[in-house]
Amino acid sequence: MTGERRDRGVALARAARAGDTLALHELLDHLGPYVSRVCTPIALADGPDAVQETLLVVFRQLRSLKDPQALYGWVRAVAVREAVRIARRASRARPAELADVPAGGDPQLATDIDDVLARLSPEHRAVLVLRDVEGLDEQSAAALLRIPAGTAKSRLHRARTSFRKAWSA
């Protein structure tokens, strides 16, 4: 995300906290795609529910956010937590069986990537999103997920191994 876009979000959050519901409206337009980008790879088919739950929490608690500069870190933390919660609730968590990983060169590769993702647990997908999509280091990803750094590292290793198998098999 560009600095300009980030500044825009922070300015909207400040205006919304000051009582302007039109700024709140623009903030919803602004945050929606970002929340979707975090939630969808974790919650998969339940992505839209996770996005709505995240935004409900964010809008309800916006008033209590101490520092609007921390908006994105806070929204990301809520989005990951809600996406994992929704995915778990939907009982879609099935651990990856590497033997089931699809073969490389398959014309249905896009679907296969989804298949590999779906076989990971929501927690594994969350680590993958935080490290490889959001670019967080292991320590930060572990802190956000409230797990030890070693656990984050092993989850990431397992998730990446599943993907590597998918391409090289």
């Binding site: 790879p41 709505q52 309800r60």
Partner: protein
């Protein structure tokens, strides 16, 4: 990574907006009429509590500015956004939020209403009687569509 396959619909968005407005309630129901018909009636805004007439002053893309007159003679200068199935407006003393989306299963239209008398300059509405008024507004809309 997987791309989003389905966006939140306008009714879900309205619940999110209402979560950011202290005291706001959401009245939701399904009307047995097609979306286009329902939205046309909703977009006129005159089924809402106290809004007798509404004049659109100007539009620019999805931005809208309107003047509303209440049954008691008060005037409200409303500013906000209007899109298909969606309207969000605020004045100094009013907040209005409307949403409509085709009902799941393809029969009828799901609508949601929120807002009320605004606590001036704040993202808050006077909480008393809000849900009752919004529910009555939904009843009025349903009656009009039955005619």
């Amino acid at each position: 990574m997987t791309e989003p396959t389905r966006e939140m619909d306008t009714v879900q968005r309205l619940h999110v907006m209402a979560a950011g407005v202290r005291g706001a309630r959401v009245a939701e129901r399904i009307l047995p009429a097609p979306f286009e018909e329902v939205w046309e009636a909703m977009a006129a805004l005159d089924f809402l509590p106290d809004l007798q007439r509404v004049w659109v002053l100007r539009t620019d893309g999805d931005r809208i500015e309107a003047l509303a007159r209440s049954r008691y003679g008060f005037r409200a200068h409303l500013r906000g956004f209007r899109r298909p199935g969606w309207c969000w407006l605020q004045s100094r003393f009013l907040i209005v939020g409307l949403a409509a989306a085709p009902a799941p299963g393809g029969t009828g239209t799901r609508i949601a209403l929120t807002g009320g008398v605004r606590i001036p300059t704040r993202a808050a509405v006077v909480p008393f009687g809000t849900l009752r008024e919004l529910t009555s507004a939904g009843d009025r809309l349903a009656t009009r569509l039955e005619r």
